[in-house]
Assembly symmetry: C2
Homo-oligomer: 321 residues x 2
């Protein structure tokens, strides 16, 4: 077993596409192999820069990510793209999408693109995404782009993984800023106004600046608004340069180490939580039981302590906790 | 034991102040008694309306809460006040504060005021506050006011417990809206512009309306801005009427049951998490160990999986998870 993992890990460290793909599947399936593998790979991580890209459906995130990836490739940096699709329960559609997206980079082994679909309800997606990012980091991707639809808390957690968060908006999408998911505004390090050649882009930019003028800068950084037309490759260089500026601002501010310590503290707590919760509430049966018990508690037919004891004892934790 | 708990519970149901006080201490100390007690009391809960009041230090929240409490007492509703003070590591100062605050209601047994101080780092405060709210609900308080300083995620979680959230602001406090903790804006059902007789209140109100015009109403409710001068009892009636309007809006919208089910589902998950986490990371030693291991992981001296295994095995969960 160890030699198989050893072999697998060394192939990943050399950037072997097939081995990386297999490892992502292992991570998605929460297999024990994936843990053994990531343990071996971990000392080789910490070199990648993670950029999170989020925004409503229809804002052109995929094209934007594609163009950013091409930009990095032109500057000889290896790129990993993780597209998180919370709307797709199975990854069939996602994999088809990957094939189409890969076409533009077909002959380029310096870029790796993978979509992930939603699994379970216990934050499994955010955990898997974090692990895939570690894997791509170990595989030598210096720029990792994590793309997700900004619809729920889970997606907000995912982009929070990133060192730099882009929030993508377009003019004329319903009520513009008003359609924005609460919470997205606060996590943006850079706003991207995509499809900036469309009518209404000036108005949207004004609204954004009005909103931003009311918000205090974090750690001395004022989130800028970058105009792009991703389909025509316009504004991409300025965007990439702005990301680099943000990186420099952040890394020179001396807060980096403290932030990384805080990051890992939270990650360890999350990992413990998710492991314990999964063993208590994991699987369809656990989720159904939770729903049932919550309904009984809401109706005052059962007290919450007894509900919790029942859930814990069913999974053998009862005596311990 | 059972008869002691029975006796204690029936005294609480009759609203006995001393018994309620003792129960709060038991909750704060996470004693097993408190759980037995809350189990017995739980079927008698669900009648109270919880209003959360948050805002920066110096916005006059305590006075506002005091005036709101008096308003409810005048309308013959029994009131419970829980003031959460995350800045005080011990409750000494808080208890002194309670004595001063109680003076105005000294002869009134229909009002109960209690402060709580921060405990631990595992969301213990938000759990305790939720339990104290249940207790006061069982003790027949129809209006429960939960007051906290809006400084961190923990405090935001606390006010989220509430059926209605007030965010209190005052003019001339530094940079006004810019000083607002990110995330507070989104949870406000009603904005209270306190000390509205001060210079700059018109400007602040304009800023608030400008900000609100950019945000989509939730469930058809546009958060209004109510001007008060709590020290002079001005605007309190309008505020209380607006809270009642919000309550009616929410309860007639048909979304109440679904929301309560969702609430209890999340609460059960939180309770399970906090029980499990406490047994893994509880106590000073656990926290110190977490900090140590996170530092080792951040420095790539240890992989996160081994760190998690170590934390779990130390607490006897290793084999199980």
């Amino acid at each position: 077993m160890t030699s198989i993992i050893d072999d697998w890990a060394s192939k990943i460290l050399r950037g072997d596409v097939r081995s990386v793909s297999r490892a992502i599947s292992a991570i998605e399936n929460h297999s024990t192999e994936s843990e053994d593998l990531l343990k071996q790979l971990f000392p080789h991580t910490g070199q990648a820069y993670l950029t999170g890209i989020t925004g409503a459906p229809g804002t052109g995130k995929s094209t934007l990510v594609d163009r950013l990836a091409s930009y990095h490739r032109k500057h000889d940096e290896r790129v990993g793209v993780v597209a998180v699709d919370p709307t797709s329960p199975y990854s069939g559609g996602a994999i088809l999408g990957d094939r189409i997206r890969m076409q533009g980079h077909a002959s380029d082994t310096g870029i790796f693109i993978r979509s992930m679909a939603t699994r379970g309800f216990l934050g499994g997606l955010s955990r898997s995404t974090a692990e895939v990012a570690l894997l791509l980091d170990a595989a030598g991707k210096k720029q990792i782009l994590i793309e997700t639809v900004g619809v729920g808390q889970d997606e907000i957690d995912i982009v929070r993984l990133a060192d730099c968060v882009l929030v993508v908006m377009v003019p004329g999408l319903g009520d513009d800023i008003q359609n924005m998911k609460a919470g997205l505004m606060e996590i943006a390090d850079i706003f991207v106004l995509n499809k900036a050649d469309r009518e209404g882009s000036e108005r949207l930019e004004e609204q954004l600046h009005a909103m931003l003028s009311l918000v205090m800068p974090r750690d001395g950084w004022h989130p800028p608004v970058i105009r792009t037309v991703a389909t025509e490759n316009r504004g991409i260089e300025e965007l990439a340069v702005t990301i680099a500026k943000f990186r420099q601002h952040f890394e020179s501010s001396g807060k980096r180490e403290k932030k990384h310590l805080e990051h890992w503290k939270n990650r360890l707590i999350e990992m413990i939580e998710s492991r314990l919760l999964e063993s208590v509430l994991g699987g369809k049966a656990g989720e159904a039981r939770l729903q049932e018990l919550a309904a009984a508690v809401a109706a005052r037919k059962l007290d919450p302590f007894s509900a919790v004891s029942e859930l814990l004892s069913k999974s053998g934790f009862g005596a311990k906790v």
